[in-house]
C-alpha cells in the first residue's frame, strides 16, 4: 500500500531531517536530531511535555526555523521558492489553534478549502469527520472533541500527502479520542503519511507504524512499538509492594527476571516468563519475611520502555 505514494522523493522518504538544532535563549529545545519518515507510514514522536516534539514538528512544517541542520519535505527544502506549492500537498494541525468562534463548521471548512487548488468538497470533508449534523453550528457551540475533529478536518481539506498532527487528542475524553483515532486510521488506510506527536503511549502504540521516543530534544529510541517493547528483553511487567524495605538488587537475579527498578513505593520487574518469575518472587519474599502488600502484572508498554530508558514516567518527566 505504501507503493502508491512512494515516488514523491525518489528515496521513499516523505520527511527527513539531519542534525536539527533549535535553541530558545537559554534552553536547547532540539539537540542534534536526525529523523527519516517513510512515505505511507504513520510515525509518532512520543515524549513528555517539553521534550521538543512541537518544536521539531513545526520545523518540519516550515513554521519554525532551525538554528542548524537540514530539512527535506517530500524531497524539497523550505525557503527555496516553492513553499506555496509544497503547502498545497501538506495538511497541518497545530496545537492550541482557536478557530473563529462565530463561523459555522461549514463556513470554517469552506474557508480553509479555498486556500487549496485540489481536494474534496467541504461537505465531503465534514462527512469524513462525522460533523454533518453540526454543519451549520457555530464553532463556539461545539464540544472539545468536535472542535478537535473540525481542526483535523481543516488539515484534510486538500487530501494532503503528509498529515501533521500535534497532540491531536490531548485533553479529550476517551470517546472523543477513540473517534479521532478512527479518523486517523481511516486516513492511514489511504496510504498517506502521518506524523503525529503525543505523550500518550497507548495512542502511539495503537496508531503508529514506527515511534521515536524523544527526551531533552533528542531521540533516545526508535523503532516499531513491538521492537521497542522487545528491547526491554521481556514483554511482561510485574509490580509489587511489600510491608518493609527491599532493594531491587535483591530480586533482580530471580529466574525469568531481566530488570528490576524502584517504581513509586514499590518495585517493578521486567519479566520474560511470569509463571516462573512470580513463584520465585513469592518464595524469595517468604524467605526474607516480607509480607506482600500489592502485586500486579501487565503486558509491557511504550511507557515501560520510556521508564527503563530515562528512569522517569512520561507523566512525571
Amino acid at each position: 500500500m505504501n507503493l502508491a505514494r512512494a515516488n514523491h522523493s525518489g528515496n521513499g522518504l516523505a520527511l527527513a531531517c539531519r542534525g536539527l538544532v533549535k535553541r530558545y535563549s537559554d534552553v536547547v529545545a532540539v539537540n542534534g536530531l536526525d529523523l527519516e519518515i517513510r512515505a505511507g507510514e504513520c510515525f509518532g514522536l512520543l515524549g513528555p511535555n517539553g521534550a521538543g516534539k512541537t518544536t521539531t514538528i513545526e520545523i518540519l512544517e516550515g513554521l519554525n526555523v532551525a538554528d542548524a541542520g537540514s530539512v527535506e519535505v517530500l524531497g524539497q527544502c523550505w525557503g527555496a521558492g516553492h513553499d506555496r506549492a509544497l503547502r498545497q500537498r501538506l495538511g497541518i494541525q497545530l496545537q492550541e489553534t482557536k478557530l473563529t468562534d462565530k463561523l459555522s463548521v461549514l463556513e470554517t471548512v469552506t474557508l480553509f478549502r479555498s486556500f487549496y487548488d485540489h481536494g474534496p468538497t467541504p461537505e465531503e470533508v465534514i462527512r469524513r469527520v462525522q460533523l454533518e449534523e453540526k454543519s451549520n453550528a457555530w464553532v463556539v457551540k461545539l464540544s472539545g472533541g468536535q472542535r478537535q475533529r473540525l481542526s483535523v478536518a481543516c488539515a484534510m481539506v486538500n487530501d494532503p500527502e503528509v498529515l501533521f498532527l500535534d497532540e491531536p487528542t490531548t485533553g479529550l475524553d476517551p470517546q472523543s479520542r477513540r473517534q479521532l483515532w478512527e479518523l486517523i486510521e481511516g486516513y492511514k488506510r489511504l496510504g498517506r503519511t502521518v506524523l503525529l506527536t503525543t505523550h500518550y503511549m497507548d495512542e502511539a502504540q495503537r496508531l503508529c507504524d514506527r515511534v521515536a521516543i524523544m527526551d531533552h530534544g533528542q531521540i533516545i529510541a526508535l523503532g516499531t512499538p513491538r521492537e521497542l517493547i522487545a528491547s526491554l528483553g521481556a514483554d511482561h511487567v510485574v509490580e509489587f509492594r511489600v510491608e518493609g524495605e527491599i532493594e531491587p538488587g535483591a530480586v533482580e537475579k530471580l529466574p525469568g527476571v531481566t530488570q528490576a527498578r524502584i517504581e513509586g513505593a514499590g518495585v517493578a520487574l521486567i519479566v520474560r516468563e511470569p509463571h516462573v518469575a512470580i513463584p520465585a518472587l513469592l518464595a524469595e519474599l517468604e524467605r526474607r519475611h516480607l509480607p506482600l502488600a500489592a502485586l500486579t502484572t501487565h503486558h509491557a508498554t511504550l511507557e515501560d520502555v520510556f521508564v527503563s530508558l530515562t528512569g522517569r514516567t512520561l507523566r512525571d518527566a
Binding site: L99, E107, E124
Partner: protein, 359 residues
Amino acid sequence: MPDHAPAPSGFTGKRLSDRALWQLSRARMVGFLREPEAVFWTFAFPLLMALALGIAFRNQGPQRSRVGVEIGPGADSVSVALSRSKDIEVVRVPADETDAALRRGKIAVLVRAGQSPPRVVYDPSRPETRLAFLVTVDALERAAGRTDRVGVVSDTRARPGSRYIDFLIPGLIGLNLLGTGMWGVGFPIAGARQQKLLKRMIATPMRRRDYLWSLVLARAVWLLLEVATVLGFGVIAFGTYVRGSWLAFALVVVIGAFAFSALGLLVVSRARTIEAVSGLMNFVMMPMWLLSGSFFSSERFPAVMQPLVQALPLTLVNNGLRAIMNESAGLAGVAPQLIALGAWGVVCFALALRLFRWE
C-alpha cells in the same frame, strides 16, 4: 495509483485562488455581523451622537425676551405697549415677587410703570438682559410715537452650511472612519494572532497579501454603509448636504479610510495580545480625538501647535470633508489633504508589512 483515494470532486483549479480572497473577506464580514456590539459601535453610536449633539446645539427660532411688568398703577398700558413688539414676552409680576423673578432669570428686565417715566431694572453685565433692555426701551418709545428714520431691511434667512450641525456631521464621519478603520483592522489581527489562528493560516498555501487585503475589502463594504448612514441621517434630520464635488467626497472617505486602516495595521504589526493592542490604539487615537477638530474647530489651538494639529490624518479628513460639504470645494480644493492622507496610508502600510509578525 491509490484506487481507494477519493477522487477530487467539487470545485478545483484556478477559480479557487480568486475565491480565497472572497472567502476571507466573507468570513470577516460575517464575523463582524455576528458581533452585535461591533455593529452597534459602528452604526448606532455615531447616529446617537449626531442626534444628541444636533438637538443640543440646534438653531432655535428667534428668541423672545421675557420682560416683567410690576403689577400696579399703569401696568396695563405698559403691558399693551410692550406686547406690540414681536421680540417681547410680557410677564406680569406681583410687587413682592419682582426681586426673586429677576434673580432666578424668570424675567430678564423689570418695568415699574408706577413712576413716570417708567423705570427699567436690569443687570447690564449679561448679554441677554442688555438685549431685553434695548427691546423694552424700543417698544416703549415706539408706543410713545417714535418713528424710524433709516428704515433698515433685515434678512434673517438661515444660511445652510453655517450651523453647528453642519460643522459636526463631517467631524462625526471623520471620527467614525478613524475608529472603525483602526479597530476594524487591529482587533481581528490581534485576536487571530493571540489564538494562533494567524499561524494556522500561514501553514496553508494562503497568500499573505490576500489575508491583509480581505481586511481592507471587508472594511470598504462597511465603510460605504457607515458613511451613507451618518450622511443620510444628517440630510434627513438636519438638512445637511454635500455642496461640493461628490467625487472629492468619495476620495477623501476612501483614502482617509485607507490611511486609518494602514495606521491600525502598523499599530498591531507586532503587538501580541488584545490588551497591548487596546493600549496602543488609544495612545494613537487620543491625540486625534482631542486635537483634530471633530467637535470644535482645531483653529482654537495655539499657533505653535498648528503644524502638528494640521498634519494629523483625522484633521486632514475633517477639514477636507468640511470644505466639500459646507464650502462647495471640488477636487482641486482638497488636493493637499488627499495627497497628505495618501502619504500617511502608503508609509504606514509599507512599515506595517515590513514589521508584521505572522506567528
